[in-house]
């Protein structure tokens, strides 16, 4: 009984990391039709910021962890806002060029990280609690998985609250629905977009700091690796829907873990989970091209 529980919870933990990237991707796409290939870079930036702080400041391990987390969130927000203002905004409504810019940015910044910190993974000093386990229904769950799930749930609740109860949130929701109409009413959608982009950067950087604890190390390619699954999550969940992304992230993460464990044995290699996710994407597109929560085909 303990193995399925372990697989389920670690799968949710993986899904939590996907969701932290997918949330920003989905909202920026929903609002402005911008597909951000550099979104994984925000995760990498968050991870390296957390690593720099955690290895350079003193204090107890939790103080260092807190500082690292706070620092990476701040840097994530600033980096995302800077990218939006300097590179995305000048290409307003030229969607292909916007994608190309983010592709160039992803190439350049990943290479820069590699040049500055080396291509090899670096060990990340998490608090000892992260590496210990909590017993849940007979299964030993590493605490870093629980932390990722809690963080993703918090981000989901915060984003849902932001979208539901604040004025900016209303503008974003209306903008996803019909951007032209919102603009016609004299509301500056561009500013809402900068805000959403920065929030996406914060969530991605949080994902980076947590992924560092999750994997125990950081490396320059991690952002790009997670980004591909975040893209899949966004398409399965339905572009523009946060709830859809959350559900899809959980499904994808859990399925990946189960397939890796059960099919990996049969097929004799460990890629079963990744391939199962791609197969799921193909099936969803065949049956429901608009995704789980989408209304119109993407």
């Amino acid at each position: 009984m303990s193995t399925p529980v372990l697989l389920f919870v670690t799968g949710l933990g993986l899904g939590a990391l996907y969701f932290l990237l997918a949330a920003g991707l989905s909202l920026t796409y929903g609002l402005m039709r911008v597909l951000n290939f550099a979104h994984g870079v925000f995760l990498t930036i968050g991870a390296y910021t957390a690593w720099m702080i955690a290895t350079h400041v003193g204090g107890s391990e939790w103080v260092r962890f807190g500082l690292a987390l706070g620092g990476s969130l701040l840097v994530g927000a600033v980096a995302a806002a800077a990218v939006e203002l300097s590179l995305i905004r000048p290409l307003y409504r030229r969607h292909v060029e916007q994608i190309l810019i983010t592709v160039g940015l992803a190439l350049a910044l990943t290479a820069l990280t590699q040049g500055a910190f080396g291509a090899d993974p670096r060990p990340y000093p998490s608090p000892g609690w992260m590496d210990r386990v909590t017993v849940l229904a007979g299964a030993d769950i590493p605490n870093s998985r629980l932390a990722a799930i809690a963080a993703a749930a918090l981000v989901l609740a915060a984003l849902a609250g932001f979208l539901r109860f604040t004025r900016w949130g209303t503008i974003v929701r209306a903008g996803v629905e019909n951007r032209e109409m919102v603009s016609a009413l004299g509301i500056d959608v561009q500013r809402a977009f900068t805000l959403v982009f920065a929030l996406g950067g914060v969530a991605a950087a949080l994902g980076g700091a947590l992924a560092a604890s999750y994997f125990g190390n950081i490396d320059p390619q991690r952002g790009g690796d997670v980004l591909i699954f975040a893209f899949i999550v966004v398409v399965i969940g339905g572009l523009g829907s946060i709830t859809g992304s959350a559900v899809a992230a959980a499904v994808v993460g859990v399925m990946q873990q189960f397939a890796n464990y059960y099919f990996g044995v049969w097929w004799g290699f460990s890629a079963a989970g990744d391939l199962a996710v791609v197969a799921l994407l193909a099936i969803v597109l065949l049956v429901r091209p608009q995704g789980l929560a989408g209304t119109a085909p993407a």
């Binding site: 590699q114 994407l281 193909a282 085909p297």
Partner: protein, 344 residues
């Protein structure tokens, strides 16, 4: 009319120089480290020609038909790996190995394209990305020990014709690369000028209108998807022979993105622009790598060395500047220079 003639004369001269390059023992300082006829230079040139043609195959999809795919590395990687596996693991002859790789790529392109083309725009881009990622994962995880995993797969040359083996025969590989480029160019120009090619361009401009005219865009898109996959797979086979083996890097998303950069660099939608972009990107990639390990860069302070030592950083930054300031790429710039002259 005279302009057209001039272009033809220049093209013919360029082709003649390219074909004769292995016999031209001349130094071109700054451009190449060694004389043109040296194997190292020929290999660099052959890589440029090959990637010019692979970029051209991607341009059929992206520039001509407007299908933004992030999975073109899958077809190139299939060409590289299937040819190598058939030669090295199964000890087939070269012709059979290449035909097998092309056949497999065609079948896979029709099957995956049939699924991916059910969606359009960004969703299509992400589905192609996911399929290519699945291929890359398969190669990396080395099922049954067939792909060699992270280490890659060397090339067993015992079943290759003698003419293709050894440094001294680099010139033959170079001519194969040139022949591949010519074939890809001939097929591309012919198709784009033909009726399906016109429909491809119509799909790019206004897909709904094509539908209204009673044509099924889906069929034409699947057609171009398969053709570009085939050309890319053939390029993979040529590349594998050139570098003598397969490494998993050729299956990753980075290569798909690099192909996109090549096409945009040259000018998406213009066939010759894509060739120039692919060749130039490959040239810069190789030369910047050489620059990164040269004394000029290793002697720099660390904060300058880190970015300049990474070719992808320089290429990425150049690409951003290009998209911001020179939309249309090299072809666009040439057109802008030419147009005022024509008006005068």
């Amino acid at each position: 009319m005279t302009r057209r003639l001039a272009v033809r004369v220049i093209l013919a001269a360029l082709l003649l120089v390219l074909a004769a390059a292995p016999f031209l023992d001349v130094e071109i300082p700054g451009l190449f480290a060694r004389s043109l006829a040296r194997p190292g230079t020929l290999q660099l040139l052959a890589l440029c020609l090959t990637f010019g043609a692979v970029a051209l195959s991607y341009d059929l999809l992206f520039g001509i038909t407007g299908l933004l795919s992030f999975g073109h590395a899958l077809w190139f990687g299939m060409g590289v790996y299937l040819t190598d596996i058939a030669l090295t693991r199964w000890h087939w002859g070269l012709g059979a190995a290449v035909l097998f790789a092309l056949g497999a790529a065609l079948v896979a392109a029709l099957a995956l394209g049939a699924v991916a083309l059910r969606v359009t725009g960004i969703a299509f881009a992400m589905v192609t990305l996911a399929f290519a990622q699945a291929g890359s994962i398969l190669v990396h995880k080395n099922p049954g020990g067939i792909t060699g995993g992270e280490e890659g797969l060397g090339l067993d040359v015992s079943h290759l014709p003698d003419l293709l083996i050894g440094v001294i025969n680099t010139r033959n590989l170079y001519w194969i690369a040139l022949a591949y480029l010519l074939l890809a160019a001939a097929v591309s120009w012919w198709l784009v000028g033909s009726r399906p090619g016109r429909v491809w361009q119509a799909v790019r401009e206004n897909e709904r209108r094509v539908e209204v005219m009673g044509l099924r865009p889906y069929t034409f898109k699947l057609f171009v998807f398969a053709v570009s996959a085939l050309l890319a797979a053939l390029g993979g086979a040529v590349y594998m022979l050139l570098v003598g083996g397969a490494s998993p890097g050729v299956t990753t998303g980075s290569l798909s993105l690099a192909l996109l950069v090549m096409v945009v660099l040259g000018g998406a939608g213009t066939l010759w622009g894509a060739i120039v972009g692919g060749a130039l990107y490959q040239y810069l990639d190789q030369r910047l790598l050489a620059l990164a390990s040269s004394d000029a860069v290793t002697g720099l302070p660390a904060w300058l060395r880190a970015p300049l030592g990474e070719p992808l950083f320089i290429l990425g930054a150049l690409f951003i500047a290009l998209v911001l300031f020179f939309p249309g790429g090299i072809a666009g710039a040439v057109t802008r220079v030419r147009l005022p002259r024509r008006a005068a």
